[in-house]
């Protein structure tokens, strides 16, 4: 028979529960917003039928362009600029994507109080550092050059 030592720790259970609920809600959000997008219920910033078309002066369709060129062609803002377009069918999908990508920050934030209570100082510091890394990645401060 399994004993108590084989059971998951409190922080592991808390992390798992948040991840579970967050993942299913994010996935549902992703599917609903995608249906809204392809049904045309909301107008898209980049018209859906344009994606596979080849623009004048180019030898590849829009979705074969580099991300940087695609963004320039449609005047798409980088970083969190997409939130201004969240009312459009295509950028509405980013809400679900950002939710899924943000879940880990939520999970880490939830286990810090438990780790503090257990006086797991090294893990508290690791969790805080991880949140800092993920917030930095999510912030949009980091810019990619080279185009």
């Amino acid at each position: 028979m399994a004993n108590d030592k084989t059971k998951a720790s409190e922080e592991q259970i808390v992390y798992a529960n948040i991840l579970n609920k967050g993942m299913w809600s994010g996935l549902a959000l992703l599917i609903i917003t995608f249906i809204i997008y392809i049904s045309g219920a909301l107008p898209s910033h980049v018209p859906i039928e344009e994606l596979s078309k080849t623009p004048p002066g180019s030898d590849v369709p829009y979705w074969s362009m580099r991300a940087h060129d695609f963004n320039q062609a449609f005047n798409i803002p980088t970083g969190w600029g997409w939130t201004a377009l969240a009312g459009k069918g295509d950028y509405l999908n980013f809400v679900g994507i950002a939710w899924l990508a943000g879940l880990t920050i939520l999970c880490y934030s939830a286990i810090i109080p438990i780790l503090l209570r257990k006086k797991e100082t090294p893990y508290v510091l690791i969790a805080i550092a991880e949140i800092a890394v993920l917030v930095l990645a999510a912030s949009g401060i980091l810019k990619v050059g080279g185009h």
Partner: protein, 325 residues
């Protein structure tokens, strides 16, 4: 029925060849559609064709990933990048989100069953996720043909690892190293196959953490899930039991890929038209794969996956070298 079919190595070989030929046909169609000159807008391929084909292919990849014991991302990026008309920037962004969604779906169950260990994952994830940001930034700054050459070489390296690497169910760890001891990286889990509780710890943590810098960079640069590298490092180098290594690796991807995914998202390298059909296709395929897994012959499938990766890796390499456009 499908499981029965997959028991015969000859059938598996035949299916592999058919799948590869289909991908070649898809690729030829993509390049033909692009090379019609001058291409009037109204003669381009209808927008829904590629997402539909993508959904079907990712559904098959989802089945193969489960049966072959690999993550969806490692199959997704070289195959979709090599045979679909989408730019490799968008494919890598989608690949990270596909791997992320798979890891998020598997994570809760693995954590609750105490197979994925937070004590092991947290220090490793911090190193890998920070490195993945750097990898993503390097990847987006490189020219697509350079990315394809490096991606092809990496996939061929993965093929060698998959074909030759040994695994150890219960590696011998004589003594935990100082880092493992001070962080308390250890645990106990119930091993149902032998009906015993297994105590585990790790050693060679500094070497492992150094390798996770490389793994993180590669994950971010190519948009690959990094299970193919996580498991050997956790299992063979650091000495975690195989089940703990596989489960912790899967959970780790949910953290490593998150940081890289944010970089792709912020740089506008994410197209919902590619991401959503891929995530749904891979997830549905994985569910079917789990059902087939109990009856299919894993060895034959493993070689089928290795063959597919070899094919996709060569394709990426030749595409990057502009030999096979």
């Amino acid at each position: 029925m499908l499981a029965k079919t997959l028991r015969s190595p000859k059938t598996v070989l035949f299916l592999s060849i058919v799948f590869c030929l289909t991908l070649v046909a898809v690729s030829t169609f993509a390049s033909t559609a692009e090379s019609v000159a001058p291409p009037p807008a109204n003669q381009d391929v209808a927008w829904w064709v590629w997402p539909l084909v993508l959904f079907v292919v990712t559904f098959v990849l989802g089945i193969l990933a489960v049966l072959g014991g690999v993550g969806g991302g490692v199959l997704f990026v070289p195959i979709v990048g090599g045979f679909f008309p989408f730019n490799i920037d968008f494919v890598r962004g989608a690949g990270l989100l596909v791997a992320l969604a798979g890891a998020l779906a598997a994570g809760p169950g693995l954590l609750k069953r105490n197979l994925a260990s937070l004590r092991l994952a947290l220090p490793v994830a911090l190193i890998a996720s920070a490195a993945a940001i750097g990898g993503a930034m390097i990847g987006l700054a490189l020219k697509p043909n350079v990315v394809n050459i490096l991606l092809g070489a990496t996939i061929l390296f993965i093929v060698i690892i998959m074909a030759t690497a040994k695994k150890s169910d219960f590696p011998n760890v004589p003594k935990p190293d100082n880092i493992a001891q001070s962080l308390g990286i250890m645990g106990i889990y119930r091993e149902e196959s032998i009906g015993k509780d297994v105590e585990w710890t790790v050693h060679k943590t500094p070497q492992g953490l150094l390798l996770f810098i490389v793994i993180g960079i590669m994950a971010g640069m190519f948009g690959l899930g990094a299970g193919w590298a996580n498991v050997p490092v956790l299992n063979l180098l650091m000495g975690a039991p195989l089940k703990i290594s596989v489960a912790t690796s899967k959970f780790l991807l949910s953290i490593t890929d998150t940081s890289a995914a944010w970089v792709y998202l912020n740089q506008g390298a994410v197209l919902p038209m590619i991401v959503v059909p891929s995530i749904v296709g891979i997830m549905l395929g994985s569910m079917v794969g789990v059902k087939i897994l109990a009856k299919a012959k894993p060895k034959a499938i493993k070689w089928m996956v290795i063959g597919l990766l070899l094919f996709a890796g060569l394709r990426a390499l030749l595409k990057g070298l502009e030999i096979w456009k």
